[in-house]
Amino acid sequence: MTARAALLLFADGRLPAGGYAHSGGLEESVRTGRVRDAQSLESFLEGRARTVGLVLAAFAARSCRAARDPDPLPELEVLDAELDARTPSPAQRETSRQLGRQLHRLLTGMAHHPLLERLPRAPHQPLVLGAACGLYGLRPLDAALAALHESVTGPAVAAVRLMSIDPFRTHAALARIAPSLDRLAERALEHCDGSPHDMPAAAAPLLDVVAEVHATRSERLFAS
């Protein structure tokens, strides 16, 4: 039997791991005026999926595969450094590690997981997500989908608080880009083997800049 239901658990926005406090750069992008209506929001989400989403998905998928190895820690350590090198924004590195730590706290609070308990203190979020998917019997493709799903639903849900848009439109945008998430998840899967140095590194320079600008704001709704 193939595990499926656990995927819904990890992809659920209500997963109590603190993700709701983040907008994935949308708050500052709205402030700059680059995102201002349903169309530009969809473009933002699509761009995020193809860049950050693809990278996170590839790392989650590979971590999921690694979690089934007898000793996954050395590979997870390499993946952690590779993801650092793909995240030029210190604010984004910090956010990713904070979210990773929160997910880790949740998972170790839910059950005893010998592998997770041996992870360093604040691993990047997709590594924890991928490893968790592996531990709950999910496949690398599932981990990739969960990472991609999360990379766009967080900002989409945040959008209703940040701009004048109703939740029907945000979810219509999510539904329209769903097929591209499937394609990106398949692409992410191609990197479960081979040199980790060749893994996807799709850059989003404007997201990097807005992450740093956002970190300097004294008034903000979302932490990132």
Binding site: S23, R101, Q102, R105, F222
Partner: protein, 226 residues
């Protein structure tokens, strides 16, 4: 089990004086208890800044959690960020006796998760009107302590404090209600005594947390939908 601090939640609507109550506790009890504070803000770290500016605790003992404009979620549904903040602080500056967790000002229905705090105070103020107590809600009805704050202002806002306290006590089946004003030392002493007793019980392993979010079986609260 390793000794850890008593974790005390402070909830209540916006502007009722949660930060000020916490500053008062710190000012009056810092000599006898090792205290830390975690704030939950709607916009960044304003409450944490208020406490830092008040100078009652060192900056390392005040941490802010950003809640993505969802303060009630951070203290009840998804407590991970708060739990990490509390645990980090106990690890970094501990051992502590008391960690106060301040909720972001929200509505009357917000209460702390039993996974986050051992006990909680719900704060109202007289300026919100005498009838707030009658409107009820889980925090008013079942928090460990209901504080009716700013009672020194009662004459100016036309509220009968005694009546408000009596109605609160009735709504709470006799559980404690405290009329409080930081300008009236005897009320502050009462608050500190309550916390002292609770911290003592916690340290001695005598304190059994009760969750105001869960339906009460031991008394009939006059709770109406809000």
């Amino acid at each position: 089990m390793p000794r850890r601090a008593l974790r005390l939640g402070v909830a209540g609507p916006v502007g009722t004086g949660k930060s000020s109550l916490i500053a008062t506790v710190c000012r009056n009890m810092a000599a006898e208890l090792e205290i830390g504070v975690v704030t939950n803000d709607i916009y960044t770290d304003e409450d944490a800044r208020f406490l830092r500016a008040s100078g009652v605790l060192s900056a390392a003992r005040i941490r802010a959690v950003e809640t993505g404009a969802c303060p009630h979620t951070a203290i009840r549904d998804d407590i991970t960020m708060n739990l990490i903040a509390v645990e980090d602080m106990e690890r970094d500056v501990g051992p502590l006796d008391l960690v106060l967790v301040e909720s972001g000002g929200d509505n009357l229905t917000a209460t702390f998760s039993p996974g986050l705090v051992d006990a909680q105070v719900f704060v109202l103020d007289v300026a919100g009107g005498g009838d707030v107590v009658r409107k009820g809600g889980p925090g008013i009805a079942r928090a460990d302590l209901l504080a009716v704050n700013k009672v020194d202002l009662a004459p100016y806002v036309d509220v009968d404090v005694d009546r408000m306290v009596a109605e609160g006590a009735a709504a709470r089946g006799g559980a404690p209600v405290l009329a409080l004003s930081r300008h009236r030392p005897e009320t502050v002493d009462e608050l500190c005594a309550w916390i002292r007793r609770l911290a003592g019980d916690h340290a001695a392993g005598r304190h059994t947390p009760t969750d105001p979010g869960a339906p009460a079986h031991h008394h009939h609260a006059h709770v109406r939908a809000t």
